[in-house]
């Protein structure tokens, strides 16, 4: 269960304060597939980042399974992400110095899992990249990089998968493939999936759609 209570995020922009999120409250149930949409600058990515504890809100509280994320230290946040959250970025963010296979293993190694290797192999099979494991990110296409990022996001069996425009840098064919992969894994593992997207077509396939405008929730509808 993800709960956001009166979340605001204000940043300093030059001499002025810029409100990115303005008193947002919402809750997302376990296993739910939610799409967050809105124009550029509406606060979608910031909201996702706050849920993952990548940044702290200016005010309000965020709770995951009852634990208040906003009060956690950097290290506690890190272990929260390690245990419960998977994240997929628009620009993949694979570690360039590691091979695809090693990128997938990293979250499991951080947790100290013993079967990291076998599990990483399975995950690579799941995303259909068994033969590309020894390649470095720069040697992979955008679609392949994102499939590796998804395999990495699922590595620790997260309860929550947060995806920030995962198809934004891909052509439509690759984009559809990535979307199918995520929803498939969501169904198989009963993962809470929060997807930030510009693509209305993808958003329509979610169970619930939250629209943001100027940092506020414009609508929150079940599809």
């Amino acid at each position: 269960m993800i709960e956001l209570k009166n979340i605001s995020k204000v940043v300093r922009s030059g001499a002025e304060d810029l409100t990115i999120l303005d008193n947002v409250s919402l809750s997302i149930a376990d296993g739910e597939f939610v799409a967050i949409t809105g124009a550029s600058g509406s606060g979608k990515s910031t909201l996702l980042g706050l849920i993952a504890g990548l940044d702290a809100p200016s005010s309000g509280g965020i709770f995951i399974d009852g634990d208040e994320v906003t009060k956690m230290s950097e290290d506690a946040l890190a272990s929260l992400r390690s245990g419960k959250i998977g994240f997929v970025f628009q620009s993949f963010h694979l570690i360039p110095s590691l091979t695809a296979f090693e990128n997938v293993m990293i979250p499991m190694e951080i947790l100290g899992l013993r079967d990291a290797r076998a599990r990483a192999e399975r995950l690579l099979t799941d995303v259909d990249l068994t033969n590309r494991g020894h390649h470095y990110p720069t040697e992979l296409s955008g679609g392949e990089q994102q499939r590796i990022a998804i395999a990495r996001a699922f590595a620790n069996n997260p309860k929550i998968l947060l995806a920030d425009e995962p198809t934004g840098n891909l052509d439509s064919k690759n984009g559809q493939h990535i979307f199918d992969l995520m929803t498939e894994l969501h169904r198989q593992n009963n993962v809470t999936l929060v997807l930030v997207t510009h693509d209305q077509g993808l958003a329509d396939k979610a169970q619930r759609q939250i629209r943001l405008k100027d940092g506020r929730v414009l609508s929150d509808d079940k599809n």
Binding site: L54, A78, S82, P96, S97
Partner: protein, 840 residues
């Protein structure tokens, strides 16, 4: 934990090229420390390690005059009571001139003559060149065993006969290693003859510099016996010395040298540290995104720091090992290049303890210099993956940063103190280095500021090159500091050398004599003067010399039990050549007291400034001299300063007339006229044939030896200086590698905008050319200042600005930086712009 190890391994695997500079910086630094320390320790081992063999005895009693019957009696009495004395022998040493019997040969050589008696040696080994143990029979009936060098000098071979003074000797063998052979400065090759042949050759009677030795081998530590002998012989001119004291003195000197050399090594290592700091700083900057990803995936800041720390440790360790390998290569090179000039028993391997020290130093320097940059990892937030936070402000007051900074400085101080063997010297070193770096850095800042204006005047390439030097994340000042420091060291040494060599240039300095003749008997002086005048056309300058030793200072015998005094025994206890005259020489100035103008009732003496300081005496004090057993007490009338540059003679003690005229004396004469080498040799040979007992010093040889010494010294420092330059170059290459992506991007844009490869190449050359010129100018300015200060205030010699050298220094630096810089960035020119621009 496995996460930390796995990631460390993977990071090294993928980033090793970028970190190669880190590795090399440490390797060069550790290599310098280990090489210098090993060399000096091995040298200490070879020269001083077996001082017993060096002395060829456990203790010795030496005298510059015959042992008096009273002295012998006292010695026998004390030694006779001792139960530890196992064996005894006597020896006589003296410098002499040797020449082949063959009259047609014009060769002549100084030799260090040693008359020995069996059993010899009491301690140590003595083998001849053919590998057989030395047999005393080789010396019997006019035999000589000589250093192979003499065969070359005199162009003779085994079986030939040579003349030394009035004696004739047959060369029966040469030796590969003589007992006590490694000791310092030699006037000429060693020649062994029978002790009794010394007398028959007339060497002992001619008043030359003869040293008589009684040597003893003991079964146990001779310290007590030596002390008792010294107590009983107090006031006499005899010197008692045990091998242990020699060892102690030598050991101290070597330790001091080793510590100073280690500081030089540490300087290179600290420069390596600057390289490490630079690499670590930019490395962390480049890894920001990866760190953010790792944090996003759940790794804590501490674990990520642990990964990078482990990486640094691994590289520091590997770099240190490679450094030890480099040190070994250096020692092999030393053997290959300098083995002839170094003791034969010198080992050319890295010492194990020094190697461990080097590893520890390498790892510590790696940690100390990368700790601060690594700490930045803490401040990298995972949110930068959502929006770049590079513009975020750092916290001003960062306690851990301040603490780590302080720890680094204290750590560095501890390392410097450890290497210098003294906290004070270590602190001076660090402060000195800090100040020098500060000055160089300020100079770099000022010069780059000035240069910034230059872009408005130059061509497109120059303007772009200047812009490149101000590229965000540029390393310009660090490079200027590092390369400038290297240029500074090398140029300063070269400039000093030029001034020193100029000062002692035999052909320029008209006041130096060309030949110096000593030990001329009273009966020989007139004839010798006549010959000199006939051959050179100038009136010979002759002056009387009397050999004297200091017996008492203000009525008190010199206390050699006192450690400090004993260390100066060589300077105080030796036999001095003193003279007497009415006038002050041209090269002398009276510092205190007055030069004698009229007769006085008491004997008066003038003392040279440094000796006065050494003896802690002043005008009015009394000195008692032992002159051939007679004691003469004189009052110090004045203290003189000698200008050694214009010296014809350099007497430490000069007596007023009326005291020494009756004392046994010899004469010295000098030839001022500059004679061509062949004429000089012929004249020397003529004189020695006529007066075999005299000794002739060819000043040209001495000057040549001095120049050789200066050159070797300069070679050694320049060698170290070139390491400093090398460190600078590594920092340069490292910086280029670190800012390469920006350079590639800039080039891609310029290419898109229509810049041709030639234009880009000229920008590249202009950039590094400018950088090199700036570094060269900084180095040259500071080198000139240092060379001036050292010449003027330390060496007290005339200083001249060497324009050619300075220009050459700047040029070489500029060319070096341009070549290294261009080579390291050349591939940038060949990248296709589209791929670069798309990846941004």
């Amino acid at each position: 934990m496995s996460f930390i190890f796995n990631l460390t391994f993977r990071e090294i695997r993928s980033s090793w090229r970028r970190l190669l500079f880190f590795f090399l910086c440490i390797a060069i630094g550790v290599g310098s420390v280990v090489a210098l320390r090993s060399l000096i320790q091995n040298l200490s081992q070879a020269v001083g390690g077996d001082t017993r063999a060096l002395m060829t005895a456990d203790f010795q009693i030496s005298s510059t005059s015959d042992f008096s019957p009273t002295d012998i009696q006292k010695i026998e009495e004390i030694v006779g009571k001792s139960t530890i004395v196992e064996a005894r022998n006597e020896a006589i040493t003296s410098a002499a001139m040797a020449r082949p019997v063959d009259e047609t040969s014009e060769t002549l050589s100084f030799v260090e003559l040693k008359g020995i008696e069996p059993p010899f040696p009491l301690v140590g080994e003595f083998t001849t060149s053919d590998g057989k143990p030395f047999d005393f029979k080789l010396l019997e009936n006019g035999g000589a065993v000589v250093s192979p060098l003499l065969l070359d000098d005199l162009k003779v071979k085994i079986g030939d006969r040579i003349k030394i003074s009035d004696g004739t000797f047959e060369i029966r063998a040469t030796f590969s290693e003589e007992p006590g052979g490694a000791s310092g400065f030699r006037l000429g090759p060693r020649v062994f003859i029978e002790k009794k042949a010394f007398d028959s050759a007339g060497i002992t009677t001619s008043g030359g510099r003869v040293r008589r030795l009684i040597l003893y081998r003991t079964s146990d530590n001779p310290t007590e016996l030596v002390k008792s002998l010294r107590d009983n012989l107090k006031g006499s001119t005899l010197t008692v010395q045990s091998y242990r004291e020699t060892q102690e003195n030598l050991g101290e000197q070597f330790t001091r040298t080793e510590n100073y050399l280690s500081l030089t090594g540490l300087l290179i290592l600290v420069l390596g540290g600057v390289g490490v700091w630079n690499v670590a700083r930019v490395f962390v900057e480049q890894k920001r995104r990866s760190v953010a990803v790792l944090k996003c995936l759940g790794a804590s800041g501490t674990r990520i720091i642990a990964v990078y720390l482990l990486q640094i440790l691994t590289l520091g360790l590997l770099g240190s090992f490679f450094g030890i390998f480099l040190a070994q290569c250096f020692l092999w090179f030393t053997k290959y290049r300098f083995a002839d000039a170094l003791p034969a028993s010198l080992a050319y391997t890295v010492n194990l303890s020094v190697a461990w020290q080097g590893i520890l130093l390498g790892v510590l320097i790696s940690l100390l210099f990368s700790a601060l940059p690594l700490l930045q990892v803490r401040n990298i937030k995972p949110r930068l993956l959502l929006h770049d936070a590079s513009g975020e402000k750092m916290r001003r007051l960062d306690l851990p940063r301040a603490v780590i900074g302080a720890v680094s400085i204290v750590g560095l101080l501890a390392l410097a103190a450890w290497q210098a063997g003294s906290l004070k010297v270590g602190a001076f070193f660090l402060v000195g280095l800090g100040l020098t770096s500060l000055f160089l850095y300020v100079a770099a800042v000022v010069l780059t500021k000035i240069l910034r204006n230059a872009r408005n005047f130059g061509s497109f390439s120059i303007a772009q090159a200047v812009n490149s030097l101000y590229r965000p994340g540029n390393q310009t000042r660090i490079i200027l500091l590092a390369v400038g420091l290297g240029a500074f060291v090398v140029l300063a040494v070269q400039s000093l050398q030029a001034n020193l060599v100029r000062e002692f240039d035999f052909t320029r300095n008209q006041t130096l004599p060309s030949l110096f003749i000593v030990d001329i008997q009273k009966s020989q002086i007139d004839e010798l003067a006549r010959i000199l005048e006939e051959k050179t056309g100038e009136a010979a300058q002759t002056l009387p010399t009397v050999r004297a030793r200091i017996a008492y200072v203000n009525g008190q015998p010199i206390d050699y039990q006192n450690r400090e005094t004993r260390q100066q025994q060589g300077q105080i206890g030796r036999e001095f050549a003193v003279t007497y005259r009415a006038n002050l020489d041209k090269n002398e100035t009276v510092l205190d007291g007055e030069w004698w103008t009229e007769d006085a009732d008491v004997p008066r003496v003038s003392i040279e400034e440094e000796m006065a300081n050494r003896l802690k005496v002043a005008v009015g004090d009394s000195l008692t001299f032992d002159i051939s057993g007679r004691k003469i007490t004189a009052q110090i009338a004045n203290v003189r300063k000698l200008d050694l540059r214009n010296t014809r003679t350099a007497f430490i003690f000069v007596f007023a007339p009326g005291v020494l005229e009756k004392a046994p004396q010899t004469f010295a004469a000098n030839v001022i006229k500059k004679l061509p080498e062949t004429e000089r040799q012929r004249l020397q040979r003529n004189l020695i044939d006529r007066f075999p007992n005299v000794q002739i010093f060819d000043v040209a040889d001495i000057v040549e030896a001095f120049q050789k010494l200066v050159n070797n010294f300069v070679l050694a420092i320049s060698f170290v200086g070139s390491f400093v330059i090398l460190s600078g170059m590594l920092i340069l290459i490292g910086s280029i590698a670190l800012t390469k992506s920006q350079r590639i991007y800039e080039n891609a844009i310029l290419k898109t905008l229509g810049a041709r490869r030639l234009t880009l190449t000229s920008i590249l050359f202009a950039e590094y050319g400018l950088l090199g010129i700036l570094a060269g100018v900084i180095g040259a300015v500071f080198a000139t200042a240092l060379s001036f200060a050292v010449s003027k205030y330390i060496f007290e010699i005339e200083w001249q600005f060497d324009f050619g050298l300075t220009l050459l220094g700047i040029l070489v630096t500029a060319v070096l930086v341009t070549i290294v810089g261009a080579l390291a960035s050349f591939d940038v020119l060949f990248r296709k712009p589209l791929a670069t621009l798309r990846s941004q």
